[in-house]
């Protein structure tokens, strides 16, 4: 939803909004990290019992999400 909102804004207003959207994305990732780290912390035992550490999970998901965000922004700017 956050990424889709950003795509909608950059499609409408163009590259000038990129800096604001970049920091908006970073802040929302931070908020999601804070929420899951505190509220859903027991769920991590499931993954750790399967040998997946918190670091591995966070690094892979946040990296994937951010790269997807950048790629979709670039595609949107090309299509626009």
């Amino acid at each position: 939803m956050i990424t889709l909102s950003c795509l909608s804004i950059i499609y409408t207003w163009g590259l000038v909004t990129f800096t604001a959207l970049f920091w908006f994305k970073i802040i929302t990732l931070g908020l999601i990290f804070y929420y899951i780290h505190n509220v859903k912390k027991d769920d991590f035992y499931y993954y750790k019992n399967l040998g997946l550490s918190k670091k591995t999970l966070w690094f892979s998901t946040l990296t994937f999400d951010f790269i997807l965000f950048l790629m979709l922004i670039i595609i949107t700017l090309i299509v626009r």
């Binding site: 027991d42 750790k48 019992n49 399967l50 040998g51 550490s53 670091k55």
Partner: protein
């Protein structure tokens, strides 16, 4: 092969209050290690330290003499049943058994009434049923050591007996560390028994140890390993 898990030199403090110090605990394949202690003495903290979930000021954890220096743990080395829930509500039992490479028919052998739950999501199970799945998953899946934090809470007596049978079966190929305030069940199945008091672990030798350390008054005759407890 006999695997040995050891922890010592633990120094754990919360808000400058020392919780654990001079701790030593050993678990090995073929043995059930009981861990008892009053509320707040650090039993769960000790298990979390072993599992790499709690980082104390000092610690030394070794498997077969090899130190575990980071908080990462391989599932082939150890698994941990926390006091609270750890299985995800959105997953089906079928998926959980697939993730942990378990045979559902073996669960049905011990708990026939669970047959209908194979494709159910965990959220549809009661607290006790859910706990049995959690215990089973940790206990039976392939690993060298498993740690069970209060496995008998919320479980009805007839199922506790089944769980104890599974624990005794599984100790043949792994080391098991178990803590629970239903201490008679612990005394019933454990080979070694540690009691935590004043931040230290004491390997008990006789009934006086449990009573002297202020944990419980054991009135029945119970045998732990080669030691008989009780009056």
């Amino acid at each position: 092969m006999i695997n040995i898990l050891e922890i010592d030199s633990v120094n754990l403090e919360f808000d400058s209050k020392r919780v654990l110090q001079n701790v030593y605990l050993k678990s090995e394949t073929g043995k059930i290690t009981g861990l008892l202690g009053k509320n707040g003495t650090g039993k769960s903290s000790l298990m979390k330290i072993l599992f790499g979930e709690l980082i104390p000021n000092d610690k030394s954890i070794r498997i077969n003499g090899n130190a575990l220096l980071t908080s990462s743990r391989f599932s082939k080395d150890m698994r941990y049943l926390p006091q609270g829930r750890f299985l995800l509500n959105s997953l089906t039992i079928k998926r959980i058994f697939s993730d942990f490479e378990l045979d559902f028919d073996d669960l049905i052998y011990s708990f026939p009434e669970f047959e209908k739950f194979f494709k159910s999501k965990l959220i549809n199970l009661s607290g006790g049923e859910r706990r049995i799945i959690e215990i089973y998953v940790i206990l039976v899946s392939q690993t060298k050591f498993c740690m069970l934090d209060e496995p008998f809470s919320h479980v009805m007596p007839i199922h506790i007996d089944s769980i104890k049978k599974i624990i005794l079966r599984e100790k043949e190929n792994k080391g098991i560390i178990i803590t629970d305030h239903m201490y008679k069940h612990i005394l019933d199945i454990c080979d070694d028994l540690y009691v935590i008091n004043d931040g230290k672990t004491y390997l008990t030798k006789n009934i006086r140890d449990i009573e002297t350390l202020g944990y419980a008054r054991v009135t029945e005759k119970i045998t732990v390993g080669n030691t008989q407890y009780g009056q």
